[in-house]
Symmetry: D2
Subunit: 185 residues, 4 copies
């Protein structure tokens, strides 16, 4: 990308290069900015995310390999027991895995191969906030492995999940930022 345009100014601007701020903090800022841009793309270009989550799902923190997000539970997320639906949580395992892959610098986030969810406790009712931390445990050329844990408003583990993604084709996307966010690879 050309310096001066879009989110990667952060990396190319002289402010960034000459910054005395520790690089780790800049990495976090860059990762957070990039993950938010990917979530925005989901909200704009995907069908399910705006329908099911919209403004109710927020990324609260990110660094390369990890994303924290939370959901304001609304009626549309619930089941007949008036608690958050297993399908809503499973959908966030999927979306969260994509965000974790994004935190490593992929704008395109591949397709799912395996997704597992274990439900331990109620995730909460309308008005509660469900928090999630998702990690990219391995980031390979072909496969990415992510894991997620959800915490309800009582501080209990509500659910945990695993999401394996096939990302071989995602490496070609022009808006990727892998060089910036996963420089070791």
């Amino acid at each position: 990308m050309t310096p001066g345009h879009g989110i990667w100014d952060l990396f190319t601007s002289s402010t960034f290069l000459s910054s005395s701020t520790p690089i780790k903090i800049n990495f976090k800022m860059a990762a957070l900015r990039f993950v938010k841009s990917v979530l925005l793309s989901f909200q704009k270009e995907s069908g399910l995310e705006p329908r099911l989550f919209g403004e109710n799902l927020r990324v609260t923190a990110a660094e390369p390999g990890r994303v924290d997000f939370e959901l304001d539970i609304k009626k549309e997320h619930t089941n007949r027991l008036d608690i958050i639906h297993g399908g809503a949580i499973a959908s966030m395992v999927d979306l969260g895995g994509s965000l974790a892959v994004a935190s490593k610098g992929l704008y395109a986030t591949g397709v799912s191969t395996d997704l597992n969810v274990t439900y331990l406790s109620s995730g909460g009712r309308v008005g509660d906030v469900l928090k999630a931390v998702v990690k990219c445990d391995k980031f390979g050329k072909t496969l990415a492995y992510t894991s997620i844990q959800f915490t309800n408003s009582k501080g209990e583990i509500a659910a945990r999940g695993s999401h394996t993604k096939y990302i071989a084709l995602a490496w070609k996307h022009p808006e990727n930022a892998v060089d910036q966010l996963s420089p070791q690879k």
Copy 2:
């Protein structure tokens, strides 16, 4: 329930008892009717099902222990690649498992413990129909085990899943029809 009211007329009417139609067919009719009533309850009382699936998801066949259903894929079910979203499929693994439990006679269908999905091929695009067959492989007093397979419009296995449900409390629901649909238990 009192004879003459609601869906269980089928079982209590003299027409049913004296019927010369093979019992197996009546079982299927009863199961289909009951599963459809449970799906209707999901559409009315739950939050996620009407938001995400609504009229686009139809039960096409049922017998005790098995339900066939299909989804007209709409924009709201898709991801950024314009194919059906892994979260939409995972939500149908959850809902489908509940319908399979319903096919055994439970109106209340318990809560999830473990849900797995494996994604093999694209489930299709807007305008395609995704078909699913879900089975209740074991129906115990505490746990029910269900498995599901999705077939895309090319006839390929798009995904398969497993859903384990904790149903101990579901046995108490007044609208259950276990005696009718799972008479052996």
Copy 3:
């Protein structure tokens, strides 16, 4: 391979080519022979299979994409409840997935990415036979997807599983028979 040597004589001999036996049956014979040769290789070259299963595990049928096998349950397969151990079943989900991949013609069978097992009923005690049917549901260049179901001596589903394998490197093995067993690919 040169005609006249090894297991692929079956495909190259004139007997095969001029056979009036339906090709489907020859496919089954070839698949069974090949899968048995792969199992033999596991017994000889691997560490876990001879230690845990040895002669007690037998392939009883195979065709491209499907393998039937069974285990004579011995003391070494059991847990403290004197029934077959979840780890023994999980090990057979892994091994079975490899055999299903072999039934499509791969002698090398790749590495695991995800393995799931759901345990429905006891698999049996010492002296019982546990039967398994494993299928290769999709056989791609990079990933193979297999599923398995175990039936105990009462005819109940004891367990079912899913096993996803990364097979990109397995395609290079000189003893593969993919052209013969998966000619459509």
Copy 4:
């Protein structure tokens, strides 16, 4: 149990009660001692554990809800690629889940309902040590939920897993130590 007999002397002896050592440390000591006694019971009474792991698997630390253990990889744990077999790891997901349940005070550890393993990197070769940390994430009257992570000798996540256990019947075992190790429940 009568004071003066068996492993629970630890809890009943005056040394324990009058100890000035912080209670948390005594909990850890008690949990470690108890988990080791359960592992010993597996080695003596089960079939698979002595066959497959024996002295090569050691518990290195424990506290209520968490167990650390490690395996010296031997030939019998390997696959045809001479690295640790997916089945050996899956068996340790199962065994590890049982040990995590034991760390909460159950001597009997129930039966499996769902077991998932995701394989990220090679677990190692003969001579390497594979380390595992397993946690009991929820300990209910009917179900216990455990999760595990394996680290290879390079410090990479080799695999992670989830194991859900049905423990309703395990609560009746006379050698349980739940009152001591899970006093809050």
